[in-house]
């Protein structure tokens, strides 16, 4: 029985991990929490639904959604957040802007798609598999494989590629990055795009699993992903990913041993406990001081 809950928790945890990484990417480079990330997730889910209803096929639908969602974030950053940065607006201004943006997205979705819960096609299949006494949906295997591939891919991109090096350079010292000839604007756009992409993939996986979408679907999962990110160490990719997995499994075990009613509360109690012991998150570290 417990194994079953752990498998389910891991599934959910990987989704949290994908969401958490989205927060982490943007936080790393801009030291800003993108509170619109949950809404961006909902936006991605609706885009996939729309393109699938247009009979474009699942793969093109997902690719188009990634482009559109990533593009939306890039435009949002270029027009609004970049202007705030240029005017040296305090962090709180950017924060409230992202909260505002999340409502604009959600309202837009309500107007365009209606407020009701809509059926989402089972893009990843409906088959169930049984291994021993653990039963799981085939889509859970997808969630496992796709999210791990994406997380590892993102990590490789950031630590091994040239654009990843540029991202880390801008993150640590944007003035010096300028002097290296790095186009910081471009790097920030790439970061937002990747953040959007991870949200769309999370949306694809989870919406196909639950087979529902609705405009406010990103609110709770956004908060959970944010918590997971802080829990693991925001700004640190693998930390955020591990944070997500821990959160997912903890929730699932809560449902097993306590009751489903405690599920959401436990996520945040866990966050408090870990932050009290490790204020920078599990893998967060105090900054290396510049001499």
């Amino acid at each position: 029985m417990t194994a079953q809950y752990i498998v389910n928790g891991l599934t959910m945890g990987l989704i949290y991990a994908l969401i958490a990484v989205g927060y982490s990417l943007v936080f790393g480079i801009l030291k800003m929490i993108n509170m619109a990330h949950g809404a961006v997730y909902a936006f991605g889910a609706h885009m996939i639904l729309m393109f699938v209803t247009w009979n474009l096929g699942a793969v093109p639908a997902v690719i188009l959604s990634v482009l559109l969602t990533g593009g939306l974030l890039v435009i949002y950053d270029r027009t609004i957040l970049a202007t705030l940065r240029k005017k040296k607006a305090p962090g709180i201004a950017a924060l409230i802007t992202t909260i505002g943006f999340s409502y604009i997205i959600q309202n837009g979705l309500m107007i365009a798609f209606g407020t009701e819960i809509k059926a989402f096609p089972a893009l990843l299949g409906e088959k169930m598999i049984q291994v021993g006494n653990v039963k799981f949906a085939f889509s859970q295997v997808y969630i496992l494989v796709v999210s791990i591939v994406l997380l590892v891919g993102l990590s490789l991109l950031i630590h091994k590629s040239k654009i990843g090096l540029a991202m880390r350079a801008v993150e640590q010292n944007s003035r010096a990055a300028d002097l290296m000839g790095i186009n910081a604007k471009g790097v920030i756009s790439v970061t937002f795009f990747l953040s959007g992409m991870s949200a769309v993939i999370a949306a694809l996986l989870l919406a196909s699993y639950y087979q529902t979408v609705y405009p406010t679907m990103g609110v709770m999962i956004g908060l959970k992903g944010f918590s997971a990110s802080v829990l693991g160490g925001i700004g640190i990719l693998y930390g955020s990913a591990v944070g997500g997995i821990i959160l997912g499994i903890a929730e699932s075990l809560t449902v097993q041993f306590l009751s489903g009613a405690y599920r959401d509360a436990v996520a945040f109690i866990l966050l408090f406990l870990i932050l009290i012991v490790r204020p920078n998150g599990l893998f967060g570290k105090a900054k290396v001081s510049k001499v």
């Binding site: 350079a169 010292n173 002097l179 001081s289």
Partner: protein, 234 residues
């Protein structure tokens, strides 16, 4: 190579040039506008309209910092500004960020490591854990990775112990000897004048003196103001 320079708020119409192969130093007290000058050439600060910074026939005031770096004008900034959580190797790699000749970048690594063997020893170490002198070497090495046609060094001796200052200056002399044109900004005017060909003295945003570095060392007024001693013999 000519670098002309107009008005920006801190610089009240200064005009100077660095010729190909020269080591020119810009000295002056705090707040004279030395760093401002370098940051403006690098494109990080915008020159006021009407200014002209010419490099090999191109007007740098019309270019962005990445474009200026691509032209071969590289600044090693005041305070070193290394990327603290990246390794020494990654820092150097970033110095070559704008270069497209992937194969030859490896040669530049070898050259930098030959010049600064200590960076080779520490290539996997985080830059933030290096000593001040090593970070300065890294900052210069990083700038060299761009194979600059004009290398601008801002206060390379700042905050270093006297023996390290000497070491850094010897290395700058060596880099110059290997054919790099250098524009050096220094508070340590004595040391700067010893290795420079020519010198400009900047005072509150204006050029006060200019001339041969050796002659400057013997100029009473310059000595009194910037070198701390008056040459009695003269």
């Amino acid at each position: 190579m000519n670098t002309y320079y107009g008005n920006i708020h801190a610089l009240k119409g200064i005009d100077f040039e660095v010729n190909d192969g020269e080591l020119v130093t810009l000295i002056g007290s705090n707040g004279a506008g030395k760093s401002t000058t370098l940051l403006t050439i690098a494109g990080v600060l915008k020159a006021a309209s009407g200014s002209r910074i010419e490099f090999n026939g191109h007007d740098l005031t019309k270019l962005s910092p990445p474009q200026i770096v691509k032209m071969g004008v590289t600044l090693s900034p005041e305070g070193r500004e290394v990327f603290p959580e990246l390794t020494v190797e990654e820092n150097l790699k970033l110095g070559a960020y704008c270069r497209k000749d992937v194969k030859e970048i490896k040669d530049s690594f070898d050259q930098v490591y030959e010049l600064f063997p200590r960076l080779l020893e520490r290539k996997k170490q985080q830059a933030g854990t290096l000593s001040g002198g090593e970070q300065q070497m890294l900052a210069i090495g990083r700038a060299l990775m761009n194979r600059p046609k004009l290398l601008m060094l801002d206060e390379p001796s700042m905050g270093l112990a006297p023996n390290l200052v000497l070491e850094i200056f010897n290395l700058i002399k060596e880099i110059h000897k290997q054919g790099t044109t250098i524009l050096l900004v220094e508070q340590n005017a004595n040391m700067a004048l010893k290795i420079a060909d020519r010198c400009y003295v900047l005072e509150v945003g204006r050029i006060k003196f200019s001339g041969d570095a050796k002659e400057m060392q013997n100029n009473d007024e310059v000595r009194k103001a910037y070198l701390g001693t008056v040459n009695k013999k003269k």
